[in-house]
Symmetry: C2
Subunit: 656 residues, 2 copies
């Protein structure tokens, strides 16, 4: 949602002769982005525009309905804090996009990409005057390419999605216990031995940086240290804080291996490595992680404990700060500013560091209060499968903030974090999108833009635009369902399993690891929890309908609730009845969940009947209904849950 | 279908502890392929097998239910004619795959990848003894990456599909009027100026060759000359046979630009270029195209005509043969054998050349009769959107062949050809698969394996396996339909458009160019014809049902025909009735086709009613029905057709 927009009543028709005129500052990114805009419109409309007829980036420079005007080219590699504002005016006669910089043009073109509408009479832009600028300077998406490897095409299509929703920082989490994912020429053993051969070459990194810069997006690398370091010490066990050997970690969790901050060889290796990375990544910010060192190796090493005492470092936190000071010195020599997670905050942390808050708003406030620039990710953990609304409501600086104006200024922005325990290239888009668009709006739009219902309405449209941009959050699901159902994948069984999957959600937070403890990095992600969306639209609409029924007896909402429960009951019954005709996974995994869905739906329907008959339930029925709800709330080995349980419980309560 | 297979009654259960033992010759391709097999099975079953627990390619070498035994490693780069045979035995106790070479092991593993079955009780392999070997040595898929650019991920996933159906030659069509798609270091202008920047780097080519070799697939490059040469002469107009300048061709068809065979500079450039390519591509065969020179530039150039007279070349064909002799000499110096399309056949063509027949069986017979090795592609033009059955019945050496035994021996095999006028990376898989699996079987299995009904039954299963292997022939369609319908893409309208799209087919052969003359290389491929499959399963089943009804009055077939017609009528009516709620393309493109589908379905239903009532139609109704059929058979600007028209006409005829 733009910062300011007016919508006069008019339309600008878009037909096959549409052309763009580009004036002002010369930056090859502008015609390239204009070409992408028109290509996207071509695919949507089926029309062939004249823009590429004479070669790439050939634009009509005489009369054109769309005019782009840019005052000055932005820096070739986007920088934190550059002007991203733009003004877009559309009337019945034409459209003008004006911006002080290239970045503003790119943001305006992202708006235009979304803005083309059509109805049965044709294609058009609605007349508007948009004056737009971001609320926060740092609007990021972190992708963990370590726990599950994510190759370059995943990164590129997600950069396209980021550009569409105006995110401007791609944070690549490049090292982890489970994989060291970047080629290094100075310390080649790191990727060679720590990655199963799955890592970005430096040429690919340059390709990613160029692709991002083309879209006005910075690329900030993270090399997690001193903890989360198993993959580092596979090649260099002598740099760990306990004797090796080490192998790549396949499980999930917090592990012991941590670099030895008392060993000068550690810094010698990091000096070479970080120097090389500082040259490879042009962004002035470099993320060194710093999270979740469990301290076991340091506690268990008497030499390290002696070092702490001898250097007056007090404790492990002091040793971590000592390590960070060394790293900060290395980075400073290479012209980089240090970014790290919450745990780097310590009285000895240099003040030019940036604290990336993952544990809570308190950490953000503490860091800002102590003078550090900060980035918020707590509340934006998209891997935890929370609803978009939760992320949307998570304001880095809420209206009731206690931060001073100066402290607020230090809040650079936020980042959605796509941790990769439970995503592979087939499913990752469905965990990132469309929910991350809600986070993008929180970071771009004014605080006052916070209508959750309207957010969901627009999220469905943005979700379609993201599909058009190449994201696969919806595209892969039908095939995943066919694979799950097995040959011959009868369409009726696939349809019923589709209804089931649309109704359920993966379990939240870190519950999946507990419910599927046998799953490792080497396991397939092709189960019910992987097919399901993080947030069920059907369940959300059902919950809203139940609330409306209970609040006002709304008949339309009652009908929607009844239809939904009926479709769940029928699909669940169909699966149970026909499982013998499908493959093993329907019987083994879908039937127990479908059985629960049937039970819950029947309880819901009976409660609804009773409610609408203005009666109360018998105590026997209530006991049975509550037992059903308790039973179906139990953890499932499929690591899925039924997100309509609370709403059905409300119906049951209402007839008590 | 294997050459020989027996199926005793037993099953080998496959559970989470499945392991593979590899014995015999050492070739890293074998554990790599075994890993791919187990990964594919993991994704299908959801189980985590132990094979990767200790790193890639870690196999249990003691007791294992699956044993692979290989006598000798194949050459690192597959060669024409290498042994590809294998024997696969499965009993209730275990499975053994034996092969004389690596290639045989790879083919056997492709069989095993497909063979894992499941029912509600679990996963298993059926007991079998398969003794298998290919009928033909050259079993190819040609991909045109020029008319529409196809990046490396398209190639890689199609190599995965080829491996699954045991194709062994990837023929890359790398130069065309519309694009020069390979980096050259000796003549860099060719790709720089002839490709819009869309071409394979040599590093990518090496990656493709390695990926193919890993799967036992050869890579044969084609550089089309002297015709189809527009993109060559963009950079080198002086080497064309008429004055330039030239620009990359955007339209489809046969164009005039042809290299000048009388210019020594042409050979100097080709010597450099082909020498470089000969070193890049390890396969001993190199395809030089040679098709469709329309002769206009040669006819119009008096110097060239004088050259023909002076050198006693007789005519343009003689000049073409003169050119080919020069090229053959260049190739011979670089250790390559020349392959070219039909038109290279000429009394002066060196006998070590290979003739690739695209125009007809006569060309194949003529070339084989004159002593040339031959490859068949006529009948395997998958871009023409013919049914799989047509390709399946197209035997390179049919039972009634007139070729002598020696001539038959010269028929190396065949190639499916994916010409790329009407495919982009989103749609190409849907044109290649699953129909190419039918061609693969024709080239692998004995001539006597030719039951079309059984082929279609198995094709549906192979289609699912191809999806699992990463092909997107089905995966992209729902998103294409949502894009076509437009926001908000109401599910009911998408479903109705889906039924419409499942009922129709793109027009055949080259009709689309005539029906959509405005479409060029720069046009989007997102219309009805792009969403539709080349062959409609629904229409095929309907045609079969009509035939059964007319032959025997079969009640079940009658019911299927009625249900199908009813669903078409209902979906078409729904689209017409609700178009105002959808985007412009539904009104503009889908409604006319839906209207026709409704008319045809109603005629079919009425005819079926009359037939089943054992009555005859009135002459007025007959006239109206025939007018409807004639009307709906007319060319549509959507370049789609209704593949059930003839079957409905049969029903109408039956009540005459």
């Amino acid at each position: 949602m733009p910062a300011h927009a007016a919508w006069p009543e008019a339309q600008l028709p878009i037909a096959a002769n549409v052309a763009i005129r580009i004036t002002g500052a010369s930056d090859p990114r502008i015609p390239a982005a204009a070409t992408r805009l028109l290509n996207a419109w071509q695919e949507r409309t089926g029309m062939t525009f004249p823009h590429r007829a004479a070669g790439p980036f050939a634009f009509d420079n005489t009369a054109a309905p769309l005019t782009i005007s840019c005052d000055a080219a932005s820096s070739a590699i986007p920088q934190l804090g550059e002007d991203e504002s733009y003004v877009l005016q559309v009337s019945g006669d034409g459209a003008t996009l004006k911006a002080p910089t290239t970045l503003g043009v790119l943001r305006g073109l992202a708006t235009l990409t979304q803005a083309l509408e059509g109805d049965s009479r044709g294609w058009y832009l609605r007349a508007t005057k948009i004056e737009d600028r971001p609320r926060f300077r740092w609007r990021g998406l972190m992708i963990d390419v370590c726990r599950h490897w994510q190759p370059i095409d995943v990164i590129k299509r997600n950069l396209d999605g980021m550009a569409l929703v105006k995110l401007n920082v791609l944070h690549l989490h490049l090292t982890e216990d489970q994989g060291f994912r970047i080629e290094t020429k100075t310390v080649p053993q790191l990727a060679e031995r720590g990655s199963d051969g799955l890592y970005f070459t430096q040429e690919q990194i340059r390709e990613i940086i160029a692709y991002a810069a083309e879209r006005g997006i910075r690329v900030v690398p993270e090399f997690d240290m001193p903890g989360h370091a198993t993959s580092w010490v596979v090649a260099f066990p002598e740099l760990a804080s306990a004797p090796g050997p080490y192998v790549i970690e396949r499980r999930w969790g917090v592990f012991d291996p941590v670099l030895d901050p008392t060993n000068e060889q550690t810094y010698a290796m990091l000096e070479r490595f970080l120097g090389e990375m500082a040259a490879l990544f042009p962004d002035p910010y470099l993320h060194i992680g710093g999270d979740e060192n469990n301290g076991k190796q340091w506690n268990g090493n008497s030499r390290i404990q002696a070092f702490i005492r001898e250097h007056g470092l007090k404790d492990n936190a002091g040793l971590h700060a000592y390590f960070n000071q060394h790293i900060r010195d290395i980075l400073q020599r290479h012209g980089k500013r240090l970014v790290g997670w919450d745990e780097i905050l310590h009285p000895d942390l240099p003040k030019d560091s940036v604290v990336h808050s993952w544990r809570g708003a308190e950490g953000l406030a503490a860091a800002a209060g102590q003078g550090y620039a900060t980035i918020l990710s707590n509340g934006y953990y998209i891997d935890l499968c929370h609803p978009a609304a939760d992320h949307y409501r998570n304001d880095p600086i809420p209206a009731d903030t206690k931060l001073s104006a100066a402290e607020q200024e230090r809040v650079l922005g936020g980042e959605a974090t796509m941790w990769a325990e439970w995503v592979d290239p087939e499913t990752i888009d469905s965990r990132i999108w469309p929910r991350t668009a809600a986070i993008a709006e929180r970071l771009w739009s004014p605080r006052e833009v916070n209508d959750v219902g309207d957010m969901y309405r627009r999220l469905a449209i943005v979700g379609r635009r993201l599909e058009e941009a190449g994201l696969r959050h919806e595209r892969n699901r039908p095939e995943m369902i066919r694979r799950f159902v097995g040959e011959p994948a009868a369409p009726e069984i696939c349809a019923a399993v589709g209804v089931l999957i649309d109704a359920i959600e993966p379990v939240k937070v870190y519950a999946r690891g507990a419910q599927q403890p046998e799953m490792t990095q080497l396991s397939p992600l092709t189960g019910l929890a992987d097919c399901a969306r993080p947030e069920s639209d059907a369940a959300r609409r059902f919950r809203d309908a139940v609330d409306a029924v209970l609040a006002s007896g709304d008949a339309h909402a009652g009908q929607l609730a009844r239809t939904t429960l009926t479709s769940w009951r029928n699909a669940g019954s169909f699966i149970v009845d026909h499982a013998a005709k499908a493959g093993p996974r329907v019987s083994g995994e879908a039937v127990p969940v479908a059985t629960n869905l049937v039970s819950v739906s029947i309880v819901g329907l009976q409660a609804l009947d009773t409610l609408q008959a203005r009666q109360k339930a018998t105590s026997a029925w209530l006991a049975s209904a509550q037992a059903t709800l308790a039973n179906t709330a139990k953890p499932s080995p499929t690591a899925t849950e039924l997100p309509m349980l609370k709403a059905v419980a409300k119906l049951v309560d209402a007839v008590r």
